[in-house]
Each structure stands twice: as C-alpha cells, then as structure tokens.
C-alpha cells in the first residue's frame, strides 16, 4: 500500500474545511493524487480545539499544526518521516505496552465486540480464544488459577466491587461436591447496555470466562441468567454454546481433558431485583424473585442450597485475558485499589453517546469530554449519574476525579454496573430523581417494608414538590425515610433506592429549595412550576411562536406583541425554544 491517506478533522468552532482545503491544495498542486488522498473525517476519542490529522497506514496523529505546515506534513509522510506534531493523547492509566498511545480507551472486555463475527467460533479462536481454557486445564491447578485472579486485583463489575478472586476462593473452599457457577446477565439499570453488547458481540468470551470459573471452583454446571428482553443475545449465546460443544470446548471432557463443564441459559422475566444475587438464585430455581437475607452467602449456600458463584457478564469477560496474560499484567492497569478497565454506557446529553471501555482511574472529564465529545449543543455540564437508580450524581467540581470504586463512594455515588448518564443545564434534578425513584419503586420486589413503602413515600413527596406544593419540612421527611430505607432494607435495592435523591440533595439542595420555597423550576421541566409569557418589549410580532404552538394558545397580530393564553398553555416550551429574540420568558 503506497498511498497515504490523510484523515482530517476540524473542530466545529473553527472555520470548516480550512485544513481540508489546505491538504487538497497541496496534493493537487504537487500532483500527488496517486500517492496521497485527503478525507474529511469525524474524529473520536479526544476533544481538540485545533485540527487533527491522522495519517494511514502508519496511524500517526498530528495536532497543533498550522496551515503552513501542511506541505511539510505531506512531504514527510510520503518520505516515511514523522513530523513534530505528534499527539500523545493516550490514557495515562493504561500502563501496559499494548495500550494505544493515542486513545483514552483500552479494550479488554470489549476486545472483540465489533471486530469479529459473534456467530463464528472460528473468528473467536483466531483472536486467541479458548487458549486460556487450554492453558488452565492443562497447565494450571484450580488454586493457581484462583491465585492468578487474586493477583489481578479484579473486582466484581456488577456494582459492589467484591474481590473476584476472594469470592472464588471462598466458593472453592466449600466441601460440597456439587457447586454451581452463575452468570448474572440480568442487566437492568436504565441506560445500561454493557452486558448486552458483550453477549451480542462476543458471546464466547463470556463462555470461556465461565468455563475457567467452573474449573477454578470445581463446578461442572453453569447457568447464564439472562433477560428475556435480550432475544439477540440469547440467540447468539445459544449458537455459541452449541458451537463450543461441537468443538469439544464445552461439555464433557473439555479439550480431551478430564474436566467437564456445561452451561444452560435461564431466562429472566424482566424483574430488576433479580439482578440481586439471592433473588436471582430464587428465580433460577423457579421461585418468585425475592431476595433473602445473607448470610448464608451464595458462596456457602446458593442455588439449590449448593455453593454457588455468581458474577456478572463484564467480570466473566475479564477472566480469559487475566488467565492468558497473567494477573500481574492486569494489575498494571488501573488505580491502586481498582484494577483493570471498566465499560461505561454513556448516554444522555452527550455528543457521542456510546460504549466506552477505559482503564480504572480515568476521569469523568476524559470520558465525557474527550471520548464522547462533550455536552450536546454547547450546553453546560450539570452532572453525570453513575450507578443508575442506585447511584448518585457527580457534579462539575468532581469532573477531574479519578473514577474507581472508592472515590465514587466517597462522593455519594457508586460505580454500579456502568451506566453513565450525562445531564446538562436543562435537566431538573428533582424531575430526574422522580424518574429514578419511580423506577426503583416499580422494581422493588415488595418483600420488605422499608423499601416497599419508603420508596413510594419519597416519590410521593417529590411529586408534591414538583407540583408546587412542597413544604420545607419535606426535605427532612425525605431524609428520615431515606435513613430508614438505607439502614433497614434487606437487600441492596432498597438500601440504595434513596441514593440518587440523597446525592442530589447533597449537591443541588438549592434546586430543591427553589422548587419548594420559590415555587420555581428554572429548567422548565416541572410543568406546574413554570409559565411562559411574552415580553412585549422584545416581541417583534413575527408569529413564529404562534405557528409552532401545538395547542394554538398564542395569538396576536403581525408586527405587534403576541400573547399566550395561560389557561390553554401546556408548557411544552416550544415558543421559548423557537423565539429568536428572547421575547419569551420562562419562569
């Protein structure tokens, strides 16, 4: 491949095509069309305020050059030389040589998703798949396998972050000859789809991880508890299981060894609480998915009262890499207490939402602004929510804080399973929390009183506040109920249901007070607290608002100030959004 390709990206704020034209000009003037081509491209992965060019096939990225440097860059590239504008924008936390120096992301779990055909076991094997199983079964004892996982420092990716190796060891230690391995694929956080993507994009990765887990703890049967709402994941997993069995990589005597292990799928009926391990076990057993008290922990008495080891999809997906490359390798990535990478599903008011996998310790700023391109439409960052309905908000002041289990907890949020919802200045904290709470209230199993009733009561109070009927003592009431829920609920669902409210009260109490005392919602999200009026001084009478009003409650004569009929207004905010003269006030 002789031809050089120049992929150019220019920030939105700058004059577009300036650099693109510069490259085209040089190529055309020098008649290099056969040797070089310039392509306008969207660049992902870092936010830059100056143009960026990536030269293929070398893959060098240059940044910070001027229009006058373009010629030199092209010349150098064609002569096999590098220019001085090299951009080192990689993630400082991925300390392994394999890490891309130009990317904040580092893919372990998602290493195959999007690259291979998930329905082809050949593709997976070609990328080194199932070698970890071969390595473990023929050259490692279960204990050394557990030691490797312990050395990796891997912690459960389901949210709580319990050390995986230790959990394995505890399960292995149990005397019972029958043990089970379960994969918790009941991903239910709103806005989270990490696990689904892994199962759809790389099902063998999960299967291989579970086989290794089975080998380590001495189990011959695994279950994948998967949401029935993931039909494609189910289909691909079924195909993958069949393919693995056919190749002797799953089932009786794996790879001809004396180790046997098989996996069955169990469909969940869509209850969020079944992500809680004891509820999940009850559901696999065919019972109502209610959590039960722990201890005994499932590692002692789980599925059908047998020692059971449960981990979520992402945790399992790390295992083959740890076995293949060693725990020490894995432990070089991440922070002191949180090792490896974390997959986040970034959604909300962000320019490039999607799945990202970053080393632990990456900051929220790097994730939201560098990788995902920042806030949509140039709006102001308000907060991100991690941990979904069990987590909390991270306000602007913590943007540069390194994300790991401990730091998130210290500021009132949790790592959670990896949902990361970005909110901008237009989001009302009270309104957002009503959403989360409604979710938790609907998904409570209803077994224990604090969770069943407490959530509903807080929701009721928030409703009251957003309707303009809030009283100052309501905040105190929320706090008392939250205290009872956090301390007296049986499982994590109830204990964490008040988290979003409590965390938003911690950082955005004035916003609550604005609703309660001022009876105002500055974002306009709480319809009962907002009214739209036309400022007659500013209105030029263009009539655009009247045209766009869905309930035709705006009337007036052309070139004279218009008027909103408050009795009909549904407070959709359309007039406010379309007015070019700031003549509509919201308040």
């Amino acid at each position: 491949m002789d031809k050089k390709y120049f992929f150019v990206w220019e920030p939105e704020k700058l004059k577009q095509n300036q650099m693109y034209n510069a490259f085209s000009k040089v190529i055309n003037e020098k008649n290099l069309q056969e040797k070089a081509e310039v392509i306008k491209s969207l660049f992902l992965g870092l936010t830059a305020d100056t143009p960026v060019v990536k030269i293929m096939p070398e893959g060098n990225i240059y940044k910070g050059f001027a229009e006058s440097d373009v010629e030199t860059i092209i010349d150098n590239a064609l002569n096999g030389k590098t220019s001085k504008f090299t951009c080192e924008c990689g993630n400082k936390n991925s300390k392994v040589p394999e890490a891309d120096p130009q990317s904040k992301q580092f893919k372990i779990v998602l290493r195959n998703a999007g690259y291979i055909n998930p329905e082809s076991i050949e593709d997976y094997i070609m990328r080194g798949g199932y070698s970890a199983v071969e390595k473990a079964v023929f050259s490692m004892t279960p204990d050394s396998l557990i030691a490797e996982v312990k050395a990796s420092g891997l912690r459960g990716r389901g949210g709580a972050g319990f050390p995986t190796g230790l959990k394995w060891e505890l399960t292995r230690r149990e005397k019972d000859p029958v043990k089970y391995v379960i994969c918790n694929a009941d991903e239910g956080d709103p806005g989270a789809y990490m696990d689904r993507s892994i199962m759809e994009g790389d099902p063998h990765n999960l299967i291989e991880g579970m086989i290794l887990g089975g080998y380590a703890i001495g189990s011959s049967q695994g279950f994948i508890y998967i949401r029935a709402e993931y039909p494609l994941a189910i289909e691909r997993l079924e195909k993958a299981l069949t393919a693995a069995r056919e190749k002797g990589l799953l089932g009786k005597n794996i790879l001809g060894s004396d180790f046997s292990f098989d996996i069955e799928l169990r469909w969940g009926a869509g209850a969020f609480v079944c992500g809680e391990e004891t509820a999940l076990i009850a559901s696999v057993e065919g019972k109502r998915g209610n959590p039960r008290p722990r201890p005994p922990f499932p590692s002692v008495s789980g599925l059908w009262n047998k020692p059971t080891f449960i981990n979520n999809v992402e945790t399992w997906a790390n295992i083959p890499v740890i076995v293949e490359k060693g725990g020490a390798w894995f432990a070089t990535i991440g922070t002191e207490k949180s090792k490896g990478t974390k997959v986040f599903a970034v959604t909300g008011k962000v320019k490039n939402p999607g799945l990202v996998e970053v080393p632990m310790g990456t900051t929220i700023r790097e994730i939201v602004f560098d990788i995902c391109g920042g806030i949509n439409n140039g709006k102001k960052y308000k907060a991100v929510q991690t941990g979904g309905p069990s987590g909390g908000v991270i306000p602007e002041k913590f943007l540069d804080m390194q994300v790991d289990y401990e730091t998130l907890q210290s500021i009132g949020s949790i790592m959670g399973s990896g949902g990361l919802i970005v909110m901008d200045e237009d989001d009302c904290m009270v309104d957002v929390n009503k959403f989360y709470l409604q979710f938790s209230v609907d998904e409570s199993c209803g077994k224990c009183a604090p969770c069943r009733i407490g959530g509903k009561q807080i929701l009721e109070i928030l409703e009251k506040i957003t309707k303009g009927n809030g009283e100052e003592k309501d905040v105190e009431k929320i706090k008392s109920i939250a205290m009872a829920m956090q301390k007296a609920s049986l499982c994590a669902l109830g204990q964490t249901t008040p988290n979003p409210v409590m965390s938003s009260l911690m950082y955005f109490e004035d916003e609550y007070m604005q609703h309660i005392k001022g009876k105002k919602c500055s974002t306009g999200k709480c319809k009962d607290l907002v009214s739209y009026t036309i400022i007659s001084d500013k209105c030029i009478g263009c009539g655009l608002c009247a045209q766009r009003c869905p309930v035709t409650c705006i009337s007036g004569e052309k070139r004279k100030p218009y008027l909103i009929d408050q009795s009909k207004c549904i407070k959709c905010g359309e007039c406010y959004a379309v007015c070019k003269f700031n003549a509509v006030s919201r308040g």
């Binding site: 392509i39 969207l42 990225i61 580092f106 329905e119 799945l355």
Partner: protein, 130 residues
C-alpha cells in the same frame, strides 16, 4: 465437527485462512439492527451480488459502542486502510460497494476514525500475528 483436543487450537490458527480479499463488517447488535443495520446488510448483499463480487466477505459483528452513528460498518479492501463509516443508509451502503469496494474511492462523507478501533486487536498479539 470434530472435537478439539490439546494443541488443536494452535493448529487451527495456523491453518485457518479467511477466503476473499476484503471484508465488510456491519455492527449488528440490537442497537445497530434497531437503527437499520439489517436494511444496510440486505442492500450490500444485493449490490455485491448484482455486481458479481464474490471475493468480499460481508459479515455481522456486535456493537462497537458507537451508538451515535449507527448503523456503522468497517470496510477492508486490499491495498487500502480499513475505513469506518457511520450513519450508513441504504444509498450509502450502495455507494460503498460501487465506489469504495469496486473503484477504491473512499467516500467523501461519513468517515469516522476512532483510535481504539485498532487497539482492540492487540491484546492477544501472539495469537493474532499467526
């Protein structure tokens, strides 16, 4: 299919050869399909057939994590860098075959590059190298 035994994985990797001299991989997770990846897939399949191209593999892959530009796909044609297209519709899918694959002209729009697109390949370097 014969069951594999110890050492067979290595042998398999040595002997396995992907046919064709090009590959198009469409992200087809639930998200991609919902965004229209199935239509893109069908369009490409038909266009390839209509033009008698049979040395390009058209494949499905999982979600690459780039939700904002779905449906998306990558095109690898001999002698050209791998190009990643986002927000592909049927018209574009058609042009990718007729322009990019057949004439080796990279389309002028919807090209996306993401550094880590290549990073993912590197974890098991040893295995990949063979």
């Amino acid at each position: 299919m014969a069951k594999m035994a110890k050492g067979d994985l290595e042998k398999f990797r040595k002997n396995y050869k992907k046919s064709g001299n090009g590959e198009i991989m469409i992200s087809m997770g639930t998200c991609g399909i919902a965004a229209g990846a199935l239509d893109v897939y069908k369009e490409m399949e038909e266009t390839l057939k209509a033009n008698g191209i049979n040395n390009i593999t058209l494949g499905k892959t999982g979600c690459l994590g780039m939700c904002f530009c779905e449906p998306n796909l990558s095109v690898k044609v001999e002698g050209m860098p791998e190009i990643f297209y986002g927000n592909v519709d049927k018209t574009m899918a058609h042009s990718i075959i007729t322009e990019h694959v057949m004439k080796k002209h990279i389309l002028k729009s919807n090209v996306i590059f993401m550094p880590s697109k290549d990073t993912g390949r590197n974890i098991f370097k040893a295995a990949e190298a063979k």
